[in-house]
Structures are given as structure tokens and as C-alpha cells.
Amino acid sequence: MRLPRFEYIEPINFEGALDLLYIHKDNAKVLAGGTDLLVRMKKGLLKPKIIISLKALKELSYIKKDDSYIKIGARTSIADIIASDLIKKEACALFEACEKIGAVTIQHYRGTIGGNILQDNRCIHYNQSAFHRSGRQPCHKDGGKICYARDASDRCNSTCQSDGATALMALGANITLVRKGTERIIDLDNFYTTDGIMPFAMESNELLKEIVIPIQGGKSSYKRLAYRSAIDYPIVSAGVFLKSSDTSKNEIEDARIVVGAIARAPIFLAKASSFLKGKKFNDISAFKKAADISMDNASTFAVHNVGSTLEYRCAMVSEMVFQALKEAAIVTQE
């Protein structure tokens, strides 16, 4: 498959990249690892005039501890995150999610964490070849007015299948977006817009600089379900975070349950999360109940557009959340 034509620019520093984005805005796309962008370009879903490569921006690849935060540069490769002991210890959900991205030994060296959380939403009807799409009316995401995933839907229902996003949202991460002259910090809950066509609250002249994970002393876990164990997107995923209270180690003080690959954005399930507060770590029935609440709440957003049947995916939300909670609880008690 040939790539469409574009102009390739390789800025030598971060400011240079921001200047280019400031000038070209919508005409330009940022290339980090290319494992998502180039595939979409090959399929004719994107035709940027200019590609801004981050190849020379080594300063955006780092993992460091800063007081009670872990800071990860946007261009850090997935392989570096898996190899980091700090991530494994303090943000286990992210480690587990990164291990599942793409294929262990191949895409990890090129794929980046920034690229993973900024990967576009997917839909079985949209992510097809130009030839396939030419045989029918364009859908909402393709610039048309039809949704093939849900009849008579007035909006795009594409699904966010990023592994990293679900895990990071469970960990309560923030991201830093930079544009020429200014910088802003936004938490992931607000960053994902739940709009299928433009899934991120991000301007075209902005660049993702770093991901900041607060170290809260709790334990996290990530579970996902996919057809294959490698090179596949999840059809359901769950990231959870559990923190014990200071007074009693066996009591859950704070919980965050996030379900991914089911809706237009990873969804934080407030009701299920608050249900767990005050419960005991060895209370399996409470986990089961929280998982069932998660399933009920998440099912309302589910759309049949990433393979497998909708009923199966919804049923598996409960299972994924339960497994993730159980694992996080076991790790906490060790």
C-alpha cells in the first residue's frame, strides 16, 4: 500500500516543532512512532500535507520521578515503559497495558506512549480500505451523515481502543499540552471529549509534551480482552486503582474504575468506584457487585462496532473489572 504524498519536516528542537504546528495547524500531522498514523494514511483516512517528525526530539523521551509524580515524556517508547522499574512499582496498570500494546518485540521500539493515548477512535465500518469505503455512502467520521454501527444515529459512535488511555485514566493521570507561547495541564477525564469524530480536547496547533501520573500509594491493575494476545486491539478493557486507608490497611479508601474499548472514550465509572469506598480488601462479593454496577453503567454506551457481539462485550465488562479489582487487591495485601 502506498502512502499519499506529503512534505516531510524534521524539526531539530521542541520550539521548532511548535513553530511548525503554529504555522501549518490542520495541514500538519505529528509523526512519532507512526504505527497508528501511517496505517490511517495508507487507508486514505488522513491526507495531511505536512508530516512533522519527532525523530530528533530526544528530549521528549524520559521517565522520571519528581516529588510525588511520575513524569513520562510523550515520545517515550512503549519498550522503555515496560523496562522501567518505577512504572512497574508505582503504576502497574500502565505497565500491564503497555505490555499488551501491539506485538511485544516489534512495535514497542517505535510505538510511543503519546501516540498510544492520542490514537484515533476506531470503528469496524470506518477503519477499512479506500476501496471498501468507496462502495457506500461516507459515515459521520468520513465526512458524511450516516452511522453504520448504530441505525439512525446522528453522531459518530467510533470506539476508543487505546490501552494506555484506560490505564492512565484509572491512575488519575494528567497530560501537558503545549502550543507556541503557552502550556496547559488537563486531566484525562476532560481530555477525552466523547465525540467520535474529534475524540480529544486538543487544538491542531498543540503538541503533547508529557504525561504526569500522581503517586498515591495505591495499587492498580489493567485487564483486557482481545481476540489475539498480540497485535490486536482490545474489545473490552478495564483499569482499576485501589488505595487503602491510612488507619486500616484492609479498608479501601479510594477506588477508580475505568472501562475502555466500549465507548467513544474510556469511561470513569463513578457509581461503581464510590460503591467500593469503605469496603474491605478481602470482600470478594463487594468486588463482584462493583463489577456488576460497572457493567450496567458501561452497557448504555456500548456500540456494536469493534467485532464480537455486543452482548458478549457487555457481559465481559463485568468480568474484566472483577479480575482487575481482584488482582489489585491481592497485590495490595502482599
Binding site: 500500500m1 502506498r2 502512502l3 499519499p4 504524498r5 506529503f6 512534505e7 516531510y8 524534521e10 509523526l31 507512526g34 504505527t35 501511517l38 496505517v39 495508507k42 487507508k43 508530516i51 517528525s53 525523530k55 519498550a79 501491539g102 506485538a103 511485544v104 518485540t105 516489534i106 512495535q107 521500539y109 517505535r110 494476545s229 498480540a230 497485535i231
Partner: protein, 169 residues
């Protein structure tokens, strides 16, 4: 759109080549440099048959722009053998009958070679994980896994290893 002159370090040889910005490394290797060992099959990073090494790490050449590969050390499947002598991994593939139609083989070899560089005696699970990104549609995985695990590490209980080591003697 104009062609741009870039220098690539391929199999320890510098190559000057004119490329378009939208050429992938795979297209340059196959069409411009006649290194047709790396194969294009899915073209979207799923099958692994275009795997090459960049700085000793396996990557997909179909999802790498040729322009992005400048300044790195590239190794293709042609660079594994030393002259006419196959590397121990390639010989092991031959000995164990790990090549069926052969289309996935270059990618498998590159993924396995990267693994063997960091772990010379991998167990079956490690090998399977290492080649998880490569698809063999003949589904001859068992023999491929065996060939990788026994490369340069011949096993007494393996009939293929024994037969061929005896034949050499």
C-alpha cells in the same frame, strides 16, 4: 514533490538513495536497493513479514518512513548470513523444517535474531512471545519455535538437531 538524497546504513554498507518523502523503508529496500528479502504482506504492521532491525531492534519496515531511517543501523535478512555460510539461526530453520512457503521466514528470522542477541538460550514461552508479532499462515509455528530455541543450542533429545549434527561430522 521532489526526490531527496538520503544515506542509509544497510547491513554495514552505506547506501545513497533518492527517495520520495512518502516512501516507506520497505519500498526503498525492495524497489530501489533490490533487497527483496523483506516482504510486504499486510502493509499495516500486523503480519510482521517486513520485519528488519534498526539499531539492533526489530521494527516494521512497512510502517517506517525511509526518511526516518537515516542515521540508524539497518540490518535486513540478507545481512544475517556471512557470505555463503548461513547463520546458526538460519541453519536451524533449515534443519528443523521451519520453512514452509517461506513468506513469513525473513520476518521470523529477524524477530528471532533480536531475541537470541539478548537471550541465547530462550525457553519455548520466551520464543513464542518474541515471535508473537509475526504471522505464519502455513501455521507451522511448532517447528519455527523449535528452530529458534535450538539455534546454537542443540538438544540431545531433538531428532532434527542430532541428525544434522551427525551429517556434518
Amino acid at each position: 514533490m521532489e526526490k531527496i538524497l538520503i544515506t542509509l546504513n544497510i547491513n554495514d554498507k552505506p547506501c545513497e538513495v533518492m527517495v520520495y518523502p512518502n516512501d516507506t523503508l520497505l519500498e526503498v529496500l525492495r524497489d530501489e536497493l533490490d533487497l527483496t528479502g523483506s516482504k510486504e504482506s499486510c502493509g499495516e504492521g500486523v503480519c510482521g513479514s517486513c520485519t528488519i532491525h534498526m539499531d539492533d531492534k526489530p521494527v516494521r519496515s512497512c510502517l517506517t518512513l525511509a526518511m526516518e531511517a537515516t542515521g540508524t543501523k539497518i540490518k535486513t535478512v540478507e545481512g544475517l548470513a556471512k557470505g555463503d555460510e548461513l547463520s546458526s539461526l538460519q541453519q536451524s530453520f533449515v534443519d528443523h523444517g521451519a520453512v514452509q512457503c517461506g513468506f513469513c521466514t525473513p520476518g521470523m528470522l529477524m524477530s528471532a535474531d533480536a531475541l537470541l542477541k539478548i537471550n541465547s538460550k530462550p525457553d519455548e514461552k520466551t520464543v513464542r512471545k518474541a515471535i508473537a508479532g509475526n504471522i505464519c499462515r502455513c501455521t507451522g509455528y511448532t517447528k519455527i519455535v523449535k528452530a529458534v530455541a535450538h539455534a546454537g543450542n542443540s538438544q540431545d533429545h531433538c531428532p532434527d538437531c542430532i541428525t544434522f549434527s551427525k551429517a556434518k561430522e
